[in-house]
Subunit: 674 residues, 2 copies
């Protein structure tokens, strides 16, 4: 009994320590979100002192539990936890909360702070990342564990708030986690009934437990989120469910936002602004916290320190792993390669060989089909390739012979994501962050809109995720303007760090895939529905594709009088227009520009060699034209053949004529510049 | 009994007529989606022959029921219904399904086909549009109905499939409809357990009825969707619920996709491809349909024809409306004005007067605050203004004195949408389509990503929806890269038909609002978190703001040696840089370009006068720079001061220095061009 009381007292101290680190940091920064850390402090203590299996000394340990703060505005709670449990995040960094180049930015940023598993803030996405992580764990365990040797066996924990639950993304992620029965995923809901606009009763009246049960989740209801022991019991229930493989668990914790603040607790005022000097003092009084700002009692430090236990746990895992290595040396090596994100030895040579083979085939196919062939080839060399589509598998062409469908009880390498574009993309980020897989996902290019912020997050996270986006222009024909991307290609190119590829034939499609899987960062492939003819290339030109922009057709000896720049399906058009112009004695160069971002990374000499100053240029792309002026500004005269309005429903050939995607129009546009 | 049998037989005939119109049209087009019309034919007959209150002769009748086909790929079902009930959609148009400039495009397009209430295809959005329509009906009824004179009293019907239900958007829309208790919204779910990838069991195992009950919906479960009488009974239950104002209703109809096709029924094969000649013949055999392609038996035409009943119903409504007009002439006139979408007489003069007043105030405020003042001013003149925010009311600044919060039981003009950006935007489209309101919605600019496809749909639909997007650059400071838009401004400008405004001060903010409310089409306002100084203007310059780009600062007499183009918060920077350059004797023009789309609509003379050829130009905008080359290509030398990477978490002033948004850097960039 005494011990229990002591434990309870210590829990309270720990929770208050987390509270005041958040209060003090927000106060010092004069901005930030104290309400959530103050409300979730006891939940954090229950989870992090009793259940999270991690080693602060090695944030990259492959079998660590993953923890995601989906309500990322409460970042100070996470920073407090990382600091107190022993990560390399000194108090000085907490004092520099939200300052330039500190390790404690306004929202948690993966890669910047040890122990931060993903970048959160855009609501709902952390939760969907966690679903991806839990799926990765399940698939990796299925693939690598051996009888008596579970080298993959960890849980994914996620904190989320009402905001995450209101987002549509939470539906996609939770529904998918349910059908895939991700039993080691445990979500803790900060049910404080307050969102930024106030008490949620007026805009959010869901019966959330019932909703999650409808997804096949276990739900632990009505937990007092300020009672560490109660939260602990709820987590134990969740873990028991996980043991029985009974589906993911949602723990519903009733809390008070800003708990401890005499005036602001339980109101939206405490969500996103400093308490202010007076209220901080009153909160210290209220909670009996005599300590100075940023002062943490030694007994709290001792109670929270996870380093010794973490080191022990990691050592135990290493013992198991070494036994595994002895018994299954190849699998162990492969596990280490995969979780480190290294490609197999010799992959680059293989990729080249594949590319040359595709060039020899000289096939005329749709680039979506070429992409499918590329996937099949790469999947043989890269067991980490994990594909899928948002319910358009046979349109996006993402499956391959023998891939197998990933199901709750069935191994495979192809995921039917359902009609959940955003959930898919955000989960792909989680899979990539987890490690062990090289994930790709697919939908129609126009529906990249649905997933857009998660694609942005792939780039911000710098994760290797490949997006297969097919039906990339009006060339899709009859489905009409709702399904015809117009602005998508140029607008995706504006996302920093995203490589957008639009291959013109099977060869460039393979080159795009080769580049995508070798890159540390996301790539998006925009692919045609319709067949595109093979373009002949020299060996040098084959190599040049990776540069993102290169001379595809040149008149021997003659300096070009005009440069035609094109991508994807418009390359064949440019080549045809070139024929018309050359028949008139006009020497024309065709530049293929499948990836402008890669082209921008080339040195100035390459770029000037491809796009010589002083020569008129015409860009041709069946998309919104404005983007191309970036590459036309250096020319004395220039024009774009593009589409500056929405598409229409009609057979593709009618649309090509309607929108002027004919060799004659391209040639005429060029002639007017000469 | 005999009558009942006859009715059942006629229902079957009608359903098969709809089936074969779809089959034949898809066959003729050699593309399209026969599966859904074949599966929902009986549901359509039950609804359209017994319940939809409409008049095919007047598709714009204000009090008609609204019908939305959220699973828009089944467009032929809708075209068949519109044709058979008597809309101006002749058989010849059905024969031209999916052909260029027909009235029967691949997905239903509002404005092109009489009776099509919204453009659908992007899954989930039709459903969310319908939620907006039902909300508009409820609010309009609340505002205009008088005792005994319900001039607004119609239902909103929506068909939706598994695809819509998997989309996260369905969560946002259904949750919002539940909390707002939109009892006249009745959704019919085509529960065929098939999506494009096959049987949904592997990726969609939600208990959908339980899920919708968790949202506060009434759910009518387990209805045989091929039994017209059963569907009719379910609809009657829903209507009884509507009478009791007991919340929206979901009717769950078990169906077989492609019903009638001997080989393909119940499989994904029938979803999106023609049956093929043999299977069409087999289906005719199976269903006992002896008629030629596109042949409809006269008794079916007679049974489906809704013109006489529609004319009667509309006449009855007009009688009520005339009584209303007699009793409440002003309200009647206002109702007619509002539902026609006309602004009040004299509004333009008023808007000018407001603008001049704002100019006289010469206030230095954040443009989000200036927008709030503009909203307050316009709201007095425009009772149709209906605002809201996705849970950021006090950050986006969308409320105004006396606006009142819209609640299930409470009138108001400001909507707390909750954290549902996509749902909000798609519902705004529905509100605008319904008529009677001029809706606007708000979130942070970076989260325009979440709503992006609905913003695109506003443009495709040409609806007057205003998006208030605040915190428009790194100027928001500490919240960091997840919250700092970088690529959003330029990427939104690429959406055809969307006017993106980025005002530089309170005057331009008012001008942007004035333009937005007067436009037939959507506008998006990108607004600053931070204060921006007032820029002095002549009367002529005040007028020029509406042109989207104009000369803000010019050196009297001197031809400019350089043009600085800027928007929003960078105007003050450009003006400051101009001061530095002019101190060096360099005459500099500053062009303010708050709306490039409006500028593009000006004649060539205006554009050349603002951006004179032959003068070097520098564009300055705290966003991804590529877009600006469109306006720089005409200059002999040019540069952009922009941001080509993600932001960081720090105080705004630190970020301005880090990213080089200083007058010195702008001036230096300019000097290098001279």
């Amino acid at each position: 009994m005494n011990m229990r009381i002591e434990t309870a007292a210590m829990d309270t101290l720990c929770a208050n320590a987390l509270r005041f680190l958040a209060i003090d940091a927000v106060e010092q920064a004069k901005s930030g979100h104290p309400g959530m850390p103050m409300g979730m402090a006891e939940i954090a203590v229950a989870l992090w002192t009793r259940h999270v299996r991690h080693d602060p000394a090695d944030p990259a340990w492959a079998d660590r539990d993953r923890f995601v703060l989906s309500n990322g505005h409460g970042s100070m709670l996470l920073y407090g936890l990382l600091h107190l449990t022993g990560y390399d995040l000194p108090l000085d960094e907490l004092k520099r909360f939200r300052q330039l180049h500190s390790k404690t930015p306004g929202h948690p940023e993966h890669g910047l702070t040890p122990g931060v598993e993903t970048t959160t803030g855009p609501l709902g996405q952390g939760f969907a990342n966690a679903v991806g992580m839990a799926l990765a764990e399940k698939l990796l365990a299925r693939e690598f564990n051996r009888p008596g040797c579970d080298i993959v066996d960890h849980r994914t924990w996620v904190f989320l708030g009402d905001g995450c639950l209101m987002e549509g993304l939470s539906h996609e992620a939770a529904s998918f986690a349910g059908v895939q029965r991700l039993s080691k995923l445990i979500a803790l809901w900060d049910d404080n009934r307050i969102s930024i606009d106030g008490n949620v009763a007026g805009w959010f009246a869901d019966d959330t437990p019932a909703r999650f049960m409808a997804y096949g989740w276990n739900v632990v209801e009505a937990v007092d989120g300020h009672d560490v022991a109660a939260v602990d019991r709820a987590i134990r229930k969740a873990l028991a469910n996980a043991e029985k493989d009974a589906g993911p668990t949602l723990i519903c914790c009733r809390t008070t936002i800003g708990r401890g603040s005499p005036v602001r607790a339980g109101t939206a005022d405490v969500h996103g602004a400093p308490l202010g000097e007076d209220e901080v003092a009153a909160t210290r009084e209220e909670l009996g916290w005599p300590h100075d700002p940023f002062e943490v009692p030694e007994e709290v430090r001792a109670a929270m320190d996870a380093r010794a236990a973490g080191a022990e746990r990691r050592a135990a895992w290493h013992t198991i792993f070494e036994a595994y290595r002895t018994a299954w040396p190849e699998a162990a090596a492969e596990f280490e390669r995969r979780t480190a994100g290294r490609l197999p030895v010799g992959f680059q040579v293989l990729a080249h060989a594949i590319l040359r083979g595709v060039d020899k085939d000289a096939a005329t196919v749709a680039t979506r089909k070429a992409s499918q062939h590329a996937i099949a080839r790469l999947a043989r060399a890269l067991p980490e390739l994990l594909g899928g589509s948002a319910d358009l598998t046979h349109s996006n062409l993402t499956d391959w012979p023998g891939c197998g469908a990933v199901r709750a009880d069935q191994p495979g390498r192809h995921i039917n994501w359902g009609v959940r574009e955003f959930g898919m993309a955000a989960a792909l980020n989680g899979i990539a962050l987890h490690g062990g897989f090289l994930p790709f996902g697919a939908t129609f290019l126009v529906f990249s809109d649905y997933a857009r912020n998660a694609i942005r997050m792939s780039a911000l996270l710098g994760q290797r995720v490949v997006y297969v986006m097919t039906h990339d222009s009006i060339g899709l024909g009859e489905d009409g303007p709702t399904h015809q991307p117009v602005e998508h290609l140029p607008s995706l190119r504006l996302i920093p760090g995203l490589d957008v590829w639009r291959p013109c034939d099977a060869v460039e499609a393979q080159a795009a895939w080769n580049a995508a899987v070798q890159r540390r960062g996301p790539a998006l492939l925009a692919l045609s529905r319709q067949n595109l003819p093979h373009q002949p290339r020299t060996i040098d030109q084959l190599e040049d594709i990776a540069r993102g922009g290169y001379v595809l057709a040149e008149t021997a000896g003659a300096r070009p009088a005009l440069v035609l720049i094109a991508t994807g399906s418009e390359i064949a058009l440019a080549v045809e227009a070139r024929g018309l112009l050359q028949a008139d004695g006009i020497p024309v160069r065709v530049v293929s520009m499948p990836c402008t971002a890669a082209f921008d990374r080339q040195d100035a000499a390459w770029r000037a060699a491809v796009l010589p100053p002083g020569v008129p240029r015409v860009a041709v792309e069946a998309a919104q034209p404005d983007f191309w002026w970036k590459y036309l500004a250096g020319a004395p005269r220039a024009a774009v053949v593009g589409i500056d309005r929405f598409g229409e429903s009609a057979p593709a050939s009618d649309l090509a004529a309607l929108f002027g995607f004919t060799a004659e129009r391209v040639a005429d546009t060029a002639r007017r510049l000469l």
